[in-house]
Amino acid sequence: MKYNWNWGIFWQLSPDGHGTYLDTLLTGLGWTLATALAAWLIALALGMVVGVVRTTPVNWMRRAGDAWVEVFRNVPLLVQMFIWFFVVPELLPASVGAWLKQLPRSAFYTAVVCLGLYTSARVAEQVRAGIQSLASGQRMAGIALGLTLPQTYRYILLPMAIRIVMPPLTSEFMNVIKNSAVALTIGLVELTASARSMQEFSFQVFEAFTAATLIYMALNLIVVRGMRWLERRLAVPGLLGAGQAMPQAGH
């Protein structure tokens, strides 16, 4: 291979005017973190609600939950990103659409909403699976004790279900970080886009993407360890899946 390696490139000034190439990548990392964390909050909140709704005995709520999951899970994320950014503003009244388009950082807000909703469908599926994995006697016992349905969920079902689905939720958290790279298609200069821009300016493509790879790995490593710590903290001795028997999260 005839390639001019230059690992010092990261300390050279980048032509985008924000300092060195390393600064460019770190700025990108900042956007990746902001997008992923904001989207993850949306995904967790909505995902819990939709997941719970899908296990209730109320028919119309279950159907609405099913529809939510199918819509957001069955359309590719790339397509959803494009629809939110280019199509939705055209469907709104002209003045609202124009406001949305002129909004500063509109790519960021769009990416957060899109990624949050997309991931919420996946979180919802896991929450549902967690609740359904509990013995049906749990729910009956709750009702028999005189708890209302919301109380049964709040005090009996959810505390157990969430603990059970912690490992797959860890994977979803990592996915949301990696999926945030799709936002580069609507012009958000996050980590992957920064690496791309670095290679366009400097032509040092391998250095740029090696750095991006290592940053993503480090980031996800932190997530894995953080979530593992959380799992241990929240583990209830004797409960299903507690302690050493806990399946390994991630990959």
Binding site: M1, K2, Y3, N4, W5, N6, P15, D16, G17, F86, P89, E90, A98, K101, Q102, P104, S106, A107, L184, T185, I186, G187, V189, A193, R196, S197, Q199, E200, F201, S202, F203, Q204, V205, F206, T210, T213, L214, M217, L221, V224, R225, G250
Partner: protein
């Protein structure tokens, strides 16, 4: 802990593989490689109209492809291999460097800007087009110069020299322009079309082609104001003087013999596939100068 260690060791192993592989396979010239394999591989773009793109029959065609054809003829003559096999390999702006470095492609026939920074990594033959950084906007907006864009939102394609220039000018003149990066040219154009941005900064030749292919070409205007000069060159591997000489000589011959005029006219002054649109861009004074005095310089000041 096990997880941490496996993560780090995989990362390090990958890194070491890259580092070790680097100096091990130093190539001994493209000509030797072509002679041994009996084939030359051209890298081409998929949608860089009219330089290098797929036509309606999914064949790679274009102005740069025709010039590469001339270069291939010269290589055949030089190596006395009339039956040299010509392979085509599509590239994108992100893959062109790795594919050239690892020997997958021997020439990149497209619309790649030749500049000094990139010459640290690859080499370029004689400039085959000179473009300028301008902006396209809707006629209704009545935007003529960069100063008219004060306080507005503009778009350019991320990672291009164009976005770098408008960023610099915005800072120098303190215009308060919001600059959006777009993924590719089509999407940047779409941003102006849908009103997300007032103007799109790009190489003028690409703007001409985007306007010509738009729904209503008459509603668009391209600024007379030019921010820079960008020479395009066909890319080849660095430090390969024997191959570069054959390629440079072939290009010079095309220019000196006047063949360039017919090739230029075919792609810029006549309808081109797939839609039969005529870009109608006559040869610029700057490029006429290059044809008269062929140069492979990557310094914009040499084109003034």
């Amino acid at each position: 802990m096990r997880n941490l260690r496996s993560f780090v060791s995989v990362g390090l192993a990958a890194l070491c593989a890259l580092l070790v592989a680097a100096p091990a396979h130093a190539q001994e010239g493209t000509l030797k490689k072509i002679k041994e394999t009996g084939a030359i591989t051209l890298g081409h773009r998929d949608a860089s109209i009219p330089f290098s793109y797929f036509d309606d029959k999914q064949a790679a065609v274009g102005y740069a492809m025709d010039l590469c054809g001339k270069i291939v003829d010269a290589v055949k003559a030089d190596l006395k291999m009339p039956n040299l096999q010509v392979k085509l390999n599509p590239v994108t702006s992100a893959t062109r460097i790795p594919l050239m470095a690892n020997g997958t492609i021997d020439l990149e026939c497209g619309s790649t800007t030749n500049n000094l920074e990139r010459q640290k990594q690859v080499s370029f033959t004689i400039t085959h087009f000179v473009t300028a950084n301008r902006f396209v906007s809707k006629k209704a907006g009545n935007l003529k110069t960069v100063d008219d864009l004060k306080g507005k939102t503009v778009v350019s394609t991320s990672g291009t020299t164009n976005i770098k220039q408008i960023t610099e000018i915005n800072g120098q003149k303190n215009l308060g322009i919001t600059i959006l990066p777009a993924k590719d040219h089509a999407e940047a154009f779409l941003m102006v079309e849908t009103g997300r941005a007032a103007a799109f900064f790009m190489d003028d030749i690409l703007l001409y082609s985007l306007v010509a292919n738009s729904k209503t070409p008459s509603e668009w205007v391209i600024s007379a104001d030019a921010l820079s000069v960008e020479p395009y060159g066909i890319m080849l591997r660095k430090d390969d003087p024997s191959f570069k000489k054959v390629v440079d000589d072939a290009m010079t011959k095309v220019y000196k013999s006047g063949e360039i005029n017919a090739i230029y006219a075919k792609w810029f002054l006549q309808p081109v596939p797939p839609k039969g649109i005529n870009l109608n861009v006559p040869m610029s004074e700057v490029f006429k100068h290059v044809v008269a005095k062929p140069t492979d310089s990557g310094d914009p000041n040499d084109y003034k």
